[in-house]
Symmetry: C2
Amino acid sequence: MSAPTTVTAAVLVIGDEILSGRTKDRNIGYIAEYLGKIGVDLKEARVVPDVEEEIVAALNALRARYDYVVTTGGIGPTHDDITADAVGRAFGVPVIEDPRALAIMLERYAEADLTPARRRMARMPEGSALVDNPISRAPGFRIGNVFVLAGVPSVMQAMLDGAAREMRTGAIMQVEPIEAGAAPEGLYGDALGRIAEANPAVSIGSYPSFKDGRFMNQIVVRGKDAAAVKAAKAAVEAMLEAIRGDGKPL
Amino acid sequence: MSAPTTVTAAVLVIGDEILSGRTKDRNIGYIAEYLGKIGVDLKEARVVPDVEEEIVAALNALRARYDYVVTTGGIGPTHDDITADAVGRAFGVPVIEDPRALAIMLERYAEADLTPARRRMARMPEGSALVDNPISRAPGFRIGNVFVLAGVPSVMQAMLDGAAREMRTGAIMQVEPIEAGAAPEGLYGDALGRIAEANPAVSIGSYPSFKDGRFMNQIVVRGKDAAAVKAAKAAVEAMLEAIRGDGKPL
């Protein structure tokens, strides 16, 4: 059997407001889940401030390493929206006012209302393709393997639909959550480690949450080979049955 | 006047579950806000998977660059908890079973219940200091400028209280939010850019949110010099008053 195809991605969140705590990021989690479902594996995420050299350095590191990079934030009409310039610099291409983007914006704004600030939203690196914005029109853009999307979650989400259609996709990760409930990680940890070792085609995670003074645990088996995922899941379930039987460590 | 002191930090979130979208990260936002309030400026955040070389590379990049690094995740009792080993390798020091950590855990667990899995939680790089865990006892640790905390938010938050007490702190960022309401960014963007240029001691951000089919905007002035923040805020408020007067771009 040939190895399942893997397509990788990273997210680059751009914005002082995330690093100051003013805005709680919701884009990483959304993009992670969305890409996972279509067969693109998110491998890394970074949050950087609205500082051109920081954006350039992070973007160049990520785009060299992963099949795709999705950026969020910094493409609005105000002075702190510097993503287009940073992306242009990262790619070493000039940033121009894109006539297609301008035409789209003229569908929404009368020419008199197309302030210099709004015209900023038509700026993008030369050679970019547009990413449709069905919410507020001003488009995102794609250059090379980088998709540049808005930061506002609802706008980002609408743009991601279009961006994702452009992506190659790989085998989809099969995910099997298994509720361990109040069974303590400390009691099943050793046995779970042995199951993980015996099932190298899957990854197994154990995830505690803490509520009402106690931990509740969920074990998740993930992998691209459905049979391997199924076998590992059965092993985990049998192990949990045994631990529930006598409450002794396994 | 001497420049306000600046102490910087980065967050390193460790965990496959964040990158798969299973768990939505809440730690970056919490730590960002918490550190900001005590005078430590969060400058970058990264999310990496449970892969030792990824953790090592990210940690070494961040700890060289910022005054502090706070990591979250990967210090539990199961096989996928590999943060202690990765941190040890990043620092080039052996990972040992810490007798102080073990003693603390023996307050919670009878010796017979101290499974090999649970003993894993007492492992940390040699020379580490403990970070108190008032919730579930198994401590975090500090080595050099790196604080290694749990991933479960309530446990992480309790540990952060102790970690923060160990940090040097700088001047606290003064933050002044100004509601722009439905005033469009595209109408005030040019004027706001001129205010930002005229007030280089502060940073000014404009943050749209999208609700019920329209954007609502908030402008935030941030800086460490209270007088400069006050002056910039007044300029922004005057600008918004003017725009509300006749609805024309400024």
